[in-house]
Symmetry: C2
Subunit: 346 residues, 2 copies
Amino acid sequence: MKIVIDAFGGDNAPLAIVRGGVDGLKETDGFSIIFTGKADEINKILDEYCPENLRSRIEIEDCSEVITNDDVPTTAIRKKTDSSLVKGFKLLKENEDVGALISAGSTGAVLTGATLKVGRIKGVSRPALAPVLPTVEGGNVMLIDCGANAECKPINLVHFAVMASNYMKVMYGVENPRVALLANGTEDHKGTPLTQETFAMLKQIDELNFVGNMEARDVLSGNYDVVVCDGFSGNICLKSLEGMSVSMMKLIKQGVMSSFKAKIGALFMKGVFKNLKKKMDYNANGGAMFLGVEGIVVTAHGAATEQTIKSTVLQAKEAVEGDVVGKIKKTLENVDFDSLVKADIL
Amino acid sequence: MKIVIDAFGGDNAPLAIVRGGVDGLKETDGFSIIFTGKADEINKILDEYCPENLRSRIEIEDCSEVITNDDVPTTAIRKKTDSSLVKGFKLLKENEDVGALISAGSTGAVLTGATLKVGRIKGVSRPALAPVLPTVEGGNVMLIDCGANAECKPINLVHFAVMASNYMKVMYGVENPRVALLANGTEDHKGTPLTQETFAMLKQIDELNFVGNMEARDVLSGNYDVVVCDGFSGNICLKSLEGMSVSMMKLIKQGVMSSFKAKIGALFMKGVFKNLKKKMDYNANGGAMFLGVEGIVVTAHGAATEQTIKSTVLQAKEAVEGDVVGKIKKTLENVDFDSLVKADIL
């Protein structure tokens, strides 16, 4: 099995990307990597960083172009045909043995490219971006959609639920993932027409363990395995969590710097803060999945480091081996979507 | 000037509510309080807690009923006519010298009651719930709407912006409040049709310092004085911030408890954590304003303590004295809303 890595996407590309890929190879067997991008630059990094015995597990697809954050995604995907990203998607689409693509480049371009070049899973009209966040209780929760679709229909959210539920089963061994719908209250009737109709549909799907509406304050509580929402709300939720995390770290730092006593205390608490920072650093734990396309596509944060890419490689490998895409398809086939009507939820 | 306090709303009612009101009287002159609720219970608390010299600044409106969180707001407001909340609204509506109402009771009932019994400001079809949050930089930001209206039209968000901008001017002396629109990105065209149309309208209002779209990660950054959004998004934003704050405190506590060294460190850092907790405890800093009705209505958290109520009383007093409602009306009169058309924002 092969994983394509866009070696020229992200702020630290290509150095951190290529090194991170190599680190992934060091970590475990059973797969190889195709780096896409300027071959001479990639080779230079490999010459200096890659152990001789791993070189046979690496291929390079030479590309002359790079898609940046300044490019308009749709235009770039159409016109920059010799870019590391577009060529990567081509490899994923056309080769049976290529199972995944990873990019830390422009998220918009990755989502557009995946949809246009790789194609959607039959029946899924809206693929979704879905990061997995660590909960307070030590578990994990998938937030879907967190930004791919600002506007959604109820059926889109139902698909999100099916996809994420399968993902949590495969990747984290959660037997019967608890799926909750993000709303402005826990009562059944809460929310907008979108959440109300989605609620009614989710309730009817036997393949899902739908536990009802939830509030945003409980996303990290550990009470849920999947949080379903439209991409606008999910984006606000994810970024609010991130914003508060950054703010609190800043306030603690300010407090520590303002008193000698607190500085001493911080020294003793160094381990606690290090763990906290690590736990809150979602990027270190891999990338966000783009679920709903015909292959595993993972977007890593633009600031992705070697560690990020290594984690993302292992994540992608596991998703391919666990056949996440196949399992999503199977569940979708089992659900009679046409019969899902708006039930009375009050 | 008189402030009505619903003495029987909230988990700690009536003890903490009545005491908090008295503490407000102790703090400053120039106003008096009308407590609504069971007179004998209120009197008992006053006999034990209120200094003799302050009794002349307190009136009691005897009520036999209480609206609870289990009541359906609309039904309760209509039927429980002898409740502490409904009688409070009656006082606010009918008496020129009553300027504000405070309640820590059912938020739904307070919002419904304020709209039905006190009435909306002319031209404002949707009043909004708006808490003020402390920013990292030491300033404050008003988040409007954070839950009163799950569904909004662009014109509603424009009204929210006008109301909050005036509030920040009056209450925090911000000369030219920076108003931002919450979206899933900072680019002008980002968001849903709702945010896109609102963006176009806000840009045309000279009375506002509209600075564009913003992301949820920057709510507490100190870069904005007003964050405008629909009530569903605002609710998700506010509760995500709250959730992350609680989660991080929990993780720090877990870390501290797991190591002797960290326990020592935490002792030295006690002051830092105390300040952090205080800063993150929005409830200690007063209540959320319900802007858009003909009077100052403040909802305190259900778990409101004496300190919360005292802060809320001082907040309400300042809002009445600063004529927040009058200033909102004046700005609304100056804006030619009919001419606000959807401009080209791309």
